[in-house]
């Protein structure tokens, strides 16, 4: 794998630190006029999601991490693992609960999502930005109310709970923004 010097640290570059893969978020060159030059680097651990700040001496190097994102189809979950398939190569990947993390409440069978691979092993799952899901349970709203002010909780087929306008009913299909977990619109079949 390639080795990168601090002056090649750009946002998005994937590097190995203490044997873990990180993505670079920011890199600031810090140098007193008469003193040691540093690069103050903000990185996210791709396994834990934790963001840390680390300082390097300018000119120091880090090994690149073999990390890439692929598009896959979600096949099914068996309670312990979530199974995905690369539709181009038909390669299958299974990821445990920790790896699926917050994405699991948005995963519907046959939807397409992104998984991050490190040395070919999946690290994380990114759900589609927008998902279309059926409401399995919500309190009946007040008749005639179409304003949606306030809203009410609705449970979706994947188990996620989102706030929806009062006029939206059980059995209806809605579009949700997974980045914020918010209702976007009703979807007509």
């Amino acid at each position: 794998m390639a080795v990168f010097s601090t002056n090649e640290f750009k946002p998005g570059l994937k590097i190995l630190l203490d044997h873990d893969p990180y993505t670079i978020l920011e890199n600031e060159f810090v140098k007193p006029g008469k003193g040691q030059a540093f690069n103050r680097v903000k990185v996210r651990n791709l396994k834990s999601g934790r963001v840390i700040e680390r300082t390097f001496k300018s000119g120091d190097t880090a090994e690149g991490a073999d990390v890439n994102d692929i598009e896959v189809q979600f096949l099914y979950g068996d309670g312990e693992h979530w199974h995905f398939m690369d539709q181009a190569s038909f390669e299958q990947y299974s990821i445990n609960e920790a790896g699926v993390a917050d994405a699991k409440i948005w995963l519907k069978e046959q939807d397409t999502c992104t998984i991050t691979l490190w040395n070919g092993v999946p690290l994380a799952v990114m759900p589609p930005t927008f998902v279309v899901l059926t409401i399995t349970e919500t309190d009946p709203g007040v008749r005639g109310d179409t304003s949606g002010g306030g809203g009410k909780p609705a449970t979706l087929e994947t188990g996620a709970v989102v706030r929806v306008p009062l006029f939206v009913q059980t059995g209806e299909i809605i579009k949700v923004d997974t980045r914020t977990g918010t209702y976007v619109s009703r979807v007509k079949e």
Binding site: E28, F29, P32, K34, G35, F38, T55, G59
Partner: protein
């Protein structure tokens, strides 16, 4: 390199460049009114500074075709030439020129930048600090400045004496402040890390801040204080967390200067850095006699950036390094 359709355009707006030109004329008037001689010294010289933390950019000169080129250096500071003028009897001088530093690119760094440097014969560092303050009041429109010693700021922010703290003390301070820095640094290296990461960003937030009495081990070209050999007669100025100027009550002793140069070259050797020839002309001028004097270098691009409240240096430079 990919050339996009707008990449030919300046990195600063024309409006900013007009203000820049106006501010530079104000600086020149400030020095003209105070009886300085404006000077102009070579940017390309046969030798350069030895400071292991400053890399010069070399330039190859060919006296005629088909010969081996002679290495020259783009100056990282006009200091040596200006001191030779002082030794020759110039009296107070100032210069606004380009300076070059290899590898220094960032939000507040451009490898080619504009430097203001001036010298006052017979003045000490404290008198010169007053003159720097006068200039800052004029350009940054501030009423006053504040001054602390190097030791005071470390004590104020971390309750730590920088002169007596061990490397382990400094390392654990960095760890306690949630910065991962698995580095092998000297005592001064750790002090510089703490200064640049934790202290500097807090300095000069309301008033320009002067820090003086640096450790003797970071004297650079300043004299060691005769009354306390732990201290160098060196000061720095910070505005809004940004280092703006560095001044010295200048070292006059040619032998000590040469010893410091040789020490720098030793450090360079151990760090596998380029070894450049000593500036013998500068050393000869010191031997002939440099008048007692103080001098200061100030980053003009940063000063203009601060005067205009711009977030980065490229916005006050016509064409920054990426567009040069």
């Amino acid at each position: 390199m990919t050339i996009s359709t707008s990449s030919w355009k300046p990195s600063a707006s024309i409006e900013t460049l007009k203000v820049r030109a106006h501010l530079i004329r104000q600086i020149q008037r400030f020095f003209d009114e105070r009886g300085f001689l404006e000077v102009d010294t070579p940017l390309m010289c046969s030798s350069t500074g030895t400071d292991p933390n400053i890399e010069s950019i070399s330039a190859l000169f060919k006296p005629f075709a088909d010969v081996h080129p002679t290495p020259y250096y783009l100056q990282s500071s006009p200091e040596f030439a200006m001191k030779r003028l002082l030794a020759a009897g110039s009296g107070p001088t100032y210069q606004i020129c380009k300076a070059f530093r290899n590898g220094e690119v960032g939000r507040y760094h451009n490898p080619e930048f504009t430097m203001l440097e001036w010298y006052r014969p017979d003045w000490d560092d404290h008198a010169l600090m007053e003159e720097v303050a006068d200039l800052l009041k004029l350009i940054l429109k501030c009423e006053q400045v504040e001054k602390f010693t190097y030791r005071e700021v470390f004590q104020h922010f971390f309750n730590l004496d920088p002169f007596h703290a061990s490397i382990e003390d400094l390392q654990s301070l960095v760890r306690e402040n949630h910065l991962e820095a698995d580095l092998s640094l000297s005592h001064d290296g750790w002090l510089q890390l703490i200064m640049s990461h934790f202290i500097e960003p807090q300095l000069g937030q309301t008033l320009p801040t002067f820090i003086y009495d640096f450790p003797a081990s970071q004297a650079a070209l300043a004299r060691i204080k005769p009354e306390n050999n732990l201290l160098a007669a060196r000061f720095e100025v910070y505005v809004k967390g940004i280092e703006l100027a560095n001044g010295f009550h200048e070292l006059l002793d040619a032998d000590e200067q040469k010893a410091r140069f040789l020490q720098d070259l030793e450090t360079r050797k151990t760090q596998n850095q380029p070894i450049t020839p000593l500036d013998e002309l500068f050393l000869a001028a010191l031997k002939a006699g440099l008048p007692d004097c103080s001098g200061v270098a100030l980053g003009v691009d940063r000063l203009i950036m601060l005067a205009l409240n711009k977030p980065s240096i490229d916005q006050v430079i016509s064409f920054d390094f990426l567009k040069s």
